[in-house]
C-alpha cells in the first residue's frame, strides 16, 4: 500500500491515487481486486509508441530516450519503423530522439523539436511522432542559423498575430481579458482535423467550414455568456475569472469529444529551400494567408464604417454610444470576427505543427505577451507585439535550452510591464 500512497503521481493522476488509497484502506484487498486499478483502466497497459518514417519508408534502429515519473529508458525502432515502451504510471513523459542514430542526411523536419512530450495522463497510449525530412541541422554557420530562426520566428509571429488581434479587439471593446481565447485556437485545429483528416474533406472546404464554425463559436460565446454578464454589470475582473472557468471547462470538453492524444492534421508536405532555410509549402502558404488576413483586418478597421465604429467603441464606448453607434452590435461583430480569426490561426498552426487539446492553453500566455507588448487594445500593436514575440521565442533557442524558449517570451512580458507597461504602441493612460 505504501507503494500506492507514494506512487509517482501527476496532476491528473492525483485523484485516482487518492481514490485507490482510500479504496484499499476501507475495503481491504477484496475490494482492491474488484475495483480496477485507476492507473490502468480496463486492465490495459500504458504505452508510449511511435513510428519513424523517412519519405514513407520505415527507419530501423533509431534510439528514443524516455524520461519522467521515475522512468529512464531507451528504446530502438524496429524493422517496421515502430517502437513502443510500456510504462507503469500515468503522467507526462519526455521523449528525446537520438539524432546520431538517424541515417546520414536525414534529420527532423522541425530541427528544434528533438524532445517531445508523451501525455499519458488521460489516454492509455501516447503516440510520439518525429516527422523526418532532410537534415537541416548539419553544422550551419551562425548567420544561417539566425536566418533560419528569423524565418521560423516570423512564421510563428504571424500566427500569433492573427489570434492576438482577436484578444486585442475584445479587450478594446469590452475591457475583458479573455483567458478562454486559447480554446478558440484549439477549436480551429480540432475541427479541421475532424473534417480533413477524419472525414476526408478537401482541405479548403474543411478550413472554410471550420472558419464558419469558429465565427459561430465566437457569436455563441458572446450571445450566451458575455452579453448576459455585461447586462448584469459584472465587474471586469470577475468576468476574467469567469473566462478562466470557461477555458478549463472547454479544455475538458475537447478531451471528451476528441480524446487527449495529439492529432496530425495533414501528413502531406513538400519541402522548399530558400537559401539556408528549409521549409514546407504549407508554412509558406500559412505565411501568405496570415499576411493577407492581417492586411484585410487593417483595411477593415481603418476603411469601413463598422471597423471605424469598432475603433470608436475601443476608444470610448460611452462617447461612441452617444454618437449613435450601437455598441452591443459592434461588440457582437467583434466577437464573430475574433472567433473566425482565431479559428484560422488554429487551422494554420495545426497544419504546420501538431495539435492536441492543450494547444490553445500553451500559446495563450504568448498571446497575452503579444498584446501587452504591443499595447492592450490596439490591433496594430497586437500585430507588432506578436511578431516580436515570435522572433524572441525562436531566436532565444539559439542561446538557451529549447525547453525554455517559451519562458523567454514570458520573461519579456514581465520586463515590458516593468519598463513600459502601456506597451510599445499603447497609450500612457492604460497603466494603473
Amino acid at each position: 500500500m505504501s507503494y500506492l500512497l507514494r506512487a509517482q503521481i501527476s496532476r491528473y493522476g492525483r485523484i485516482a491515487a487518492v481514490l485507490a488509497v482510500f479504496v484499499a484502506i476501507f475495503m481491504g484487498p477484496a475490494a482492491n481486486a474488484a475495483t480496477p486499478d485507476p492507473g490502468a483502466p480496463n486492465g490495459s497497459a500504458l504505452l508510449i509508441k511511435g513510428t519513424v518514417k523517412n519519405e514513407k519508408k520505415p527507419v530501423e534502429g533509431v534510439e528514443f530516450h524516455v524520461t519522467g515519473n521515475g522512468v529512464d529508458e531507451k528504446v530502438l525502432s524496429g524493422a517496421d519503423g515502430k517502437w513502443v515502451l510500456e510504462v507503469a504510471n500515468k503522467g507526462i513523459y519526455k521523449v528525446e530522439i537520438n539524432l546520431k542514430t538517424l541515417p546520414k542526411g536525414v534529420g527532423l523536419r522541425d530541427a528544434t523539436a528533438n524532445i517531445r512530450e508523451a501525455n499519458l495522463t488521460i489516454t492509455n497510449t501516447a503516440a510520439v511522432l518525429f516527422p523526418l525530412g532532410k537534415d537541416t541541422r548539419v553544422v550551419q554557420p551562425l548567420g544561417d542559423q539566425v536566418l533560419v530562426r528569423l524565418f521560423a520566428g516570423l512564421n510563428l509571429g504571424l500566427l500569433l498575430a492573427i489570434a492576438a488581434i482577436g484578444i486585442s479587439l475584445i479587450f478594446g471593446t469590452t475591457g475583458l481579458n479573455n483567458f478562454a481565447h486559447g480554446e478558440m485556437v484549439t477549436f480551429g485545429a480540432m475541427f479541421t482535423w475532424l473534417f480533413h483528416a477524419e472525414l476526408k474533406m478537401p482541405l479548403l472546404i474543411a478550413a472554410a467550414l471550420t472558419i464558419i464554425l469558429s465565427a459561430g463559436f465566437g457569436w455563441l460565446q458572446d450571445a450566451a455568456l458575455w452579453k448576459q454578464l455585461r447586462r448584469r454589470r459584472l465587474g471586469l475582473n470577475q468576468m476574467m475569472i469567469v473566462s478562466i472557468g470557461l477555458s478549463i471547462v472547454l479544455r475538458q470538453v475537447y478531451i471528451l469529444a476528441f480524446d487527449g492524444d495529439t492529432k496530425v492534421l495533414s501528413s502531406e508536405y513538400q519541402t522548399v529551400n530558400i537559401g539556408p532555410i528549409t521549409t514546407t509549402t504549407s508554412s509558406i502558404w500559412s505565411m501568405v494567408i496570415s499576411v493577407l488576413t492581417l492586411g484585410f483586418v487593417a483595411w477593415f478597421l481603418t476603411r469601413t464604417r463598422i471597423g471605424k465604429a469598432a475603433r470608436a467603441v475601443s476608444d470610448n464606448s460611452s462617447l461612441a454610444a452617444a454618437t449613435g453607434i450601437n455598441v452591443e452590435r459592434i461588440i457582437r461583430i467583434v466577437w464573430v470576427m475574433a472567433g473566425a480569426l482565431t479559428g484560422l490561426a488554429g487551422i494554420l498552426y495545426g497544419l504546420q505543427f501538431q495539435a492536441n487539446y492543450l494547444l490553445g492553453a500553451q500559446i495563450l500566455l504568448l498571446l497575452f505577451a503579444s498584446v501587452t507588448l504591443g499595447g492592450l487594445g490596439t490591433a496594430l500593436g497586437a500585430t507588432v507585439g506578436a511578431i516580436i514575440i515570435g522572433f524572441v521565442v525562436e531566436l532565444s533557442a539559439l542561446i538557451i535550452p529549447i525547453d525554455l524558449k517559451y519562458a523567454a517570451s514570458l520573461i519579456i512580458l514581465i520586463v515590458v510591464l516593468l519598463v513600459r507597461p502601456q506597451g510599445v504602441l499603447g497609450k500612457k493612460q492604460r497603466i494603473g
Partner: protein, 327 residues
C-alpha cells in the same frame, strides 16, 4: 454501485492530505485576495517554491528537516519580493497576467534539463522524506476512527496537516485583527485613502504577498512530504484555479471560509466522481468511459469558478460588502 463506499471515499477526501494542501494555499490566497484585494493567479508557484525549497534543502544542502522547511519559507518570501516589487504597482488585471506568467516560467525552470542536477528536471525529486517519517510518534498499526480506519503514517500526515491549519487559522485571525490587518483591509477598500493616512501601501501589499505566499508554501511542503516526491507538472494553472474555487466557495475575506470551502469542494468532487464512475460501471452513461470520469473533476472546478463568480461571489460564508474584485 456501492453508495456506502463512495460516501466514505468522499468523507475521507474531506480531510485528506490533498485537501489540507488546498486549504493552506486558500488561506494564503485569502490574505492576498480576500483581505488585500490582490488578484494573484500564481499561487501554485508559491506552493512549488516551498516544496522545492524544502526538498532541495534536504537533498542538495543536507539540511535537517526543520531548517529545510525554514529554507522553503525563506525562498517563498524571496519569491514574493521578486514577484511583488515589479508588479504590485500594476493594475489588477496586469497583476493577474504577470503572476500566472511567473508561475508558468517557474514551472519551465523546474522542468528544464538545464537545472536537472538540482531540481531533478521532469523526474522531479524524491527521497527527502526520511526524517519526516522518522519523526512519526504514532506507534505502528491500524487506527479506527468511527467507520474510517487509518494506518499510523497516514494518521501522522493528517495530524501534522490539520494541526498546521488550525495554527495557521489562529495566526491569521490574530493578524487580521491587528492594526496591520486593518491597513490591509483599508488597502482593499480604498488604496488612496490609506495612502493619504501616510501608510506605505506598496510595502503593506508586499508584506501581504509574502505572508500569503508562506501559507501556500507550507501547503506545498505537506503535499510533497505526503507523496515523498515533488514533480514539476503538479504546479500547473489548474492547481492555482482549484485553490481559487476553494476560496471562492468558502468565502474570500473569512478565516473559516477556506477551510470549509476546501472540505466541501473536494468532498463534493470526490462524491460526484464516485457516483459518475458508478453510473458508468453500470452502463448508464454509455458515452463515457472510466478515464473520462477523472476529467469530471476539472469540469467541476471550471463550472464552479464561473457560477460562483457570477451568482455568489461572496461564497458560502463571506460577506458581499467585504469583496473587492477591482482592487
Amino acid at each position: 454501485m456501492d453508495f456506502l463506499n463512495i460516501l466514505t471515499l468522499a468523507l475521507g477526501e474531506m480531510i485528506s492530505p490533498t485537501t489540507i494542501t488546498f486549504v493552506l494555499c486558500a488561506i494564503g490566497l485569502s490574505v492576498h485576495f480576500g483581505f488585500t484585494g490582490l488578484l494573484n493567479f500564481g499561487q501554485a508557484a508559491f506552493a512549488a517554491v516551498g516544496a522545492y525549497g524544502m526538498a532541495i534543502g534536504i537533498i542538495t544542502f543536507h539540511l535537517p528537516l526543520l531548517l529545510a522547511v525554514l529554507m522553503g519559507l525563506v525562498a517563498s518570501a524571496l519569491f514574493a519580493l521578486v514577484l511583488g516589487i515589479p508588479t504590485l504597482r500594476l493594475r489588477a488585471d496586469y497583476l493577474a497576467i504577470v503572476t500566472i506568467a511567473t508561475s508558468e516560467v517557474f514551472r519551465y525552470f523546474m522542468t528544464t534539463i538545464g537545472f536537472a542536477s538540482v531540481t531533478g528536471g521532469s523526474n522531479g525529486l524524491s527521497q527527502f522524506g526520511k526524517e519526516f517519517w522518522a519523526m512519526n510518534p504514532i506507534p505502528e498499526g491500524d487506527y479506527n476512527l468511527g467507520f474510517v480506519s487509518y494506518r499510523s503514517d497516514q494518521l501522522y500526515v493528517l495530524a501534522v496537516g490539520w494541526g498546521t491549519i488550525i495554527l495557521g487559522a489562529l495566526v491569521l485571525r490574530l493578524l487580521m485583527r491587528s492594526p496591520w490587518g486593518r491597513v490591509l483591509k483599508g488597502i482593499r477598500e480604498d488604496e488612496d485613502a490609506v495612502r493619504s493616512l501616510g501608510k506605505n501601501v506598496f510595502a503593506y501589499k508586499l508584506q501581504a504577498l509574502m505572508v500569503g505566499g508562506m501559507f501556500a508554501s507550507i501547503g506545498g511542503m505537506i503535499f510533497v512530504l505526503n507523496l515523498s516526491n515533488v514533480q514539476p507538472q503538479t504546479w500547473t494553472t489548474n492547481f492555482t484555479f482549484t485553490i481559487w474555487s476553494v476560496l471562492l466557495l468558502g468565502g474570500a475575506a473569512t478565516i473559516l471560509g477556506p477551510i470549509a470551502g476546501g472540505m466541501i469542494f473536494l468532498g463534493l468532487i470526490s462524491l460526484t466522481q464516485g457516483i459518475m464512475g458508478g453510473l458508468v460501471e453500470m452502463g448508464w452513461l454509455p458515452f463515457l468511459t472510466q478515464p473520462d470520469v477523472a476529467q469530471i473533476r476539472f469540469i467541476l472546478i471550471g463550472l464552479s469558478l464561473m457560477l460562483l463568480v457570477i451568482f455568489r461571489p461572496q461564497g458560502l460564508f463571506g460577506n458581499k460588502k467585504e469583496l473587492q474584485f477591482n482592487g
